[in-house]
């Protein structure tokens, strides 16, 4: 269709969306860079966080973010793969329907509700079972993995479902069982959807603020066991409400925000381009 004929206001409003994105990105990234330049005395990329002594290293937070995101992604991705297979022929129809219903309900469940229920259900269980306070990497990772399942499963399911319906009859004629059909035909050819769902999930896991704040304990340290408390970048931003504008704590927030934005933006671009390339090939 001809783009020139569209009503002008519609085009202007559509382009304003890109404008908003540009503003937000530029604002956060520039503030982050400014923080690095203006706060050279604060040595942000060190491992010591001690505001009273003027040490504002955010390496422990970066470490915690990476650990938490990667660990919950690994668990969550495997769960999603399983859920996706359940919905595509590995289980009886009523199980598949039940799975779909559960996932749909999960998509609308507020993060704060996950967190609230977990604080009073999961945390005491962990405390009883393993000792410690219960607010740790393990609790946050478990709930984060659970929370990321519906997003990833729905991305996988869209591709797996269409591929499996295209090839099902052929596979059945060749005498393949549903499990063989999934493992040998459908999953290998939807590897790109599986990859892009993992990348999308990584962005979600790294960007979630509420679950780490509520469940991970928020101590600034390098966690070495799943029972250690940790503070992620996102939790760091939500916790430090310092009125000291321009001071080290405030600048460290800006730097954390810029890092998160850069990471999640890259992740969206990569996963988007994988999906788009798949559409072109199809």
């Amino acid at each position: 269709m001809n783009a020139g004929k569209s009503p002008l206001f519609l085009k202007a409003l559509a382009l304003s969306v890109s404008g908003i994105l540009g503003t937000v990105t530029a604002f956060i990234i520039v503030s982050g860079i400014e923080a690095v330049i203006g706060g050279q005395g604060f040595s942000f990329f060190s491992s010591v966080w001690n505001p009273n002594a003027g040490h504002f290293g955010i390496l422990p937070m970066i470490h915690a973010s990476v650990l938490l995101a990667v660990s919950s992604l690994c668990v969550g991705w495997l769960l999603s793969l399983g859920c996706c297979c359940v919905m595509n022929g590995l289980a009886p129809k009523y199980i598949a329907d039940a799975m779909m219903m559960i996932l749909t309900v999960m998509t609308a469940m507020p993060t704060v509700v996950y967190g609230f229920a977990a604080v009073f259900l999961l945390v005491p269980v962990i405390r009883e079972a393993f000792g410690g306070s219960g607010f740790c990497w393990l609790s946050a990772g478990m709930i984060l993995a659970l929370q990321s399942v519906p997003t990833m499963t729905l991305v996988m399911d869209a591709s797996v479902r269409s591929l499996s319906s295209q090839t099902r009859i052929t596979a059945e004629t060749l005498g393949m069982t549903p499990a063989q059909h999934l493992c040998r035909v459908v999953l290998p050819s939807s590897s790109k959807a599986l990859l892009s769902s993992a990348i999308l999930g990584l962005g979600r896991c790294a960007g979630d603020a509420l679950l780490p704040v509520m469940l991970a304990g928020n101590a600034v340290r390098f966690a070495s066991s799943p029972l250690d408390s940790m503070r992620t970048l996102t939790a760091h931003i939500s916790l430090v409400l310092s009125s000291d504008i321009g001071g080290g704590e405030h600048l460290s927030l800006l730097l954390s925000g810029a890092l998160l934005l850069a990471f999640c933006g890259t992740v969206s671009i990569i996963s988007g381009s994988i999906i788009r390339r798949r559409k072109h090939e199809a």
Binding site: M1, N2, A3, K5, S6, P7, F9, L10, K11, L13, A14, L15, V17, S18, L21, G22, T25, F27, I28, L78, L79, G82, C83, C85, V86, L90, A91, I102, T104, V105, M106, T107, A108, M109, P110, V112, V113, G115, F116, A117, V149, A179, G207, D208, A209, L210, V213, T234, L241, I245, L253, L254, G257, L260, L261, C264, G265, V267, S268, G272
Partner: protein
Amino acid sequence: MKRETFIKILSWLSFFTVSFGILSLVIFLIIRGISSLNLRLIFGTVPILEAVTGARPVWDGIWPAMAGTLLLLFVTMAIVIVPGISCGLWLSCFASERGRSVVGECVNVLAGIPSIVMGLFGLEVIILLRRTFLPNGKTCLLLSAFCLAVLVMPALVTAVRSAADSVPHGLKVTAYALGMSEAQTVRHIIIPSAAPGILGGVILAMGRAMEDTAVIMLTGAVANAGLPTGLTGKFEALPFRIYYTSAQYTGAEELAQGFGTALLLLLMSETLLITARILQRRLLRKWRG
């Protein structure tokens, strides 16, 4: 181990893990929250009419938080609806190949921005405004609504776009064949046909705006503000109240109220989701026949 066996074990394991996890959380919430889920939770001991009109302040109920959330939702939707729907329609109906890929990519990236970063953005904007031309500016409801609007914009755009895309091509071609211009086709054919899907998208966006906590906790939500006083005042909100209770509760009564609030927010979110689903399914059925 054979690949098939592995996948089978993984599937059943995931099914049981995910359903066990989610059911235990939900059932736990219901058991602990159902007893406090009543009008007293919302209005405390104040008569409903006086509470709603603000004649008497509600101290022991969550009405201020609920009113804050409703007003916040209203303002957010007022900001986001026109640009969101227009952008979706433009992407689906008018955009050139290049415009579509550029704007589509922007929407995609915007969708990936974590909500806490959006909150930080709001905070920085107000700091910048204080330094320049609003020396008395502070975080407020309008700022929260603006940041939430940017946050839910991609969800709305994507939903509107796919609703407009799902209108059968034949219908558009027929409209052109009858001599309608593109603008007329969109106005009289595509918007009415895609209306349930567009409405569904609006409701989904409302659901996301309602549940988000990270944005509002940096941009003006507080624990004790009473009823919202206006667009430039601090406010209470349901998700923030739940978050606050989980960390700062002082007694069994507050905790019970927290469970009631969490259950209420869950029910509200699920209601919005179900409404949106019904609308979108109606749209699909309409065209598949």
